[in-house]
């Protein structure tokens, strides 16, 4: 057995990392196609307020992040419905409020180490409860994503036509925002709140360079994310780097390599 798998914390890290690598790109595909990358960032940053609240109140920070992200998600949807002309502003307003609250609450937490570990993630230090939370939340996110697979596709492709055809667009949007909130909250513990949205976007962008259908885009995105996670964990273990950042940077390097190769091929062809 490889040395890396002899450690209990690395086994947990692989399990949590691969589980998240399956669900994050599923959400990421819709976010990229709807051109809403800001929503991932907004919810991830807002989840920090939940982390700080969790640390202050002595409850699990990941659970705190989930609650606050869900509330932020509902807030975004609420503002969007009330002010449809300013839908983008709802994201910016919610993110600002979340970061402000996180900033204030983090000032009262004892020891900045725990809070900071959520900024860039700390996948190797998750405990059994958090691992169970990651797996359970991921299962829920994956099942709901698969159940709403076709509706999410249609809303991403053409919201007006989807609504006219009878798809319950409001319901689909609300559920999707809640899924995004759940996804970024649990991912903030592993890859970090500051870079979770990169993991939503980079594997999808890589997949879109090769996919020949929407279905392939989803499958390839998951495969890319799993590969980045495994490679990132190996590199971080042997080179003693931060795992979350290494996973994201691995993705960035692969994406740049793909774009350069495809660009060169196009020029030659």
């Amino acid at each position: 057995m490889l040395e890396i798998f002899a450690y209990d914390f690395m086994q947990k890290a692989f399990l949590a990392g691969i589980t998240l690598a399956v669900i994050i790109p599923c959400i990421g595909v819709i976010i990229v196609l709807r051109r809403l990358p800001m929503i991932g960032d907004a919810l991830a940053h807002t989840s920090l307020a939940g982390v700080a609240a969790g640390l202050l109140l002595g409850i699990n920070p990941v659970a705190g992040a989930i609650v606050v992200s869900m509330a932020a998600a509902l807030c975004i949807e609420g503002i969007r419905k009330k002010l449809p002309k300013y839908a983008e502003l709802s994201i910016a307003v919610t993110m600002s409020a979340g970061i402000g609250l996180a900033g204030i609450l983090s000032g009262f937490t004892s020891g900045s180490g725990s809070f900071n570990s959520f900024l860039f993630g700390s996948i190797v230090s998750i405990d059994s409860f958090e691992l169970a939370l990651v797996i359970a939340t991921s299962l829920v996110v994956l099942i709901v994503f698969l159940l709403l697979y076709k509706e999410l596709f249609y809303v991403a492709l053409d919201e007006s036509s989807a609504r006219i055809s009878g798809v319950p667009v409001g319901f689909v949007n609300a559920v999707f925002t809640l899924l995004t909130a759940a996804c970024v909250s649990i991912a903030s513990r592993t890859v970090g709140a500051l870079i979770v949205s990169s993991l939503m976007v980079i594997p999808v962008t890589c997949a879109m360079q090769f996919a020949k259908s929407y279905r392939q885009t989803v499958i390839f995105s998951v495969l890319f994310a799993v590969c980045f996670t495994i490679a990132g964990l190996f590199l971080s273990f042997y080179l003693d780097l931060r795992p979350g950042a290494t996973i994201v940077l691995t993705g960035c390097v692969v994406l740049i390599a793909i774009l350069i190769t495809r660009n060169s091929k196009r020029k030659l062809g």
Binding site: Y154, L157, S160, S161, G166, P168
Partner: protein, 239 residues
Amino acid sequence: MDKPPVLEASFLFFKYGDETLLGGVNFKVMPGDFVAVTGSNGAGKSTLFRLILNELSPASGGIFLFGEDLKHFKGWPRIGYVQQANPAYTSSFPATVEEVVLSNLYSRIGLFRPVRKVHRKSVLGALRLVGMSQLKNRMISELSGGQLQRVMVARALVSGCELLLLDEPVTGIDAEAAESLYELLHKINRDGVTIFMVTHDIGRCAKYVSRVLCLEDGTIVELNREQLERELLNKHRHR
């Protein structure tokens, strides 16, 4: 008993701020009609379309679909909708022709239910109707503007719509493809689908449509053949 109009606007008023854009619009679209709505830029064509799609609310007056007030209308699957081509968006959307057309069956299939063979057969039928069945596995990003609009017409037809609404369907596509799209719409109309189309391209579509409505100064008037020829002549002179 006579069938009710497929689409009817009754004393429709709409204001943007203080400006009255639609000042008492009345018209009826009967089953089997192929109606083109024309008018200068800013005359309110797009607003009228958005009112019909229930994306805007009128200040007063009403819209009726199949005899039912739009406010309570539930028969949206009877309506097909094709909007202006948006190559900037579709060129980066990773979906096949089949996936796009299939999407309009999703509400009929229902939430949480899988796509079955019978649905794929319907898609193939709709694609055959628009002459695109051989491209069903092609990515939409690889289609020309004309091909893409044919796919969008197939998507609207796949659910068996009775009224097809088209918003500037030939904008951004070349003359040959536009002519071919009008021929297709003419054929679909002969097969029994009522068509209501907003267009700038009245010159090219005039020979295919059964009625032309002109939206001007907040009201709508139906052009007879003589008025239409005059309108076309004016457009020709301004080119």
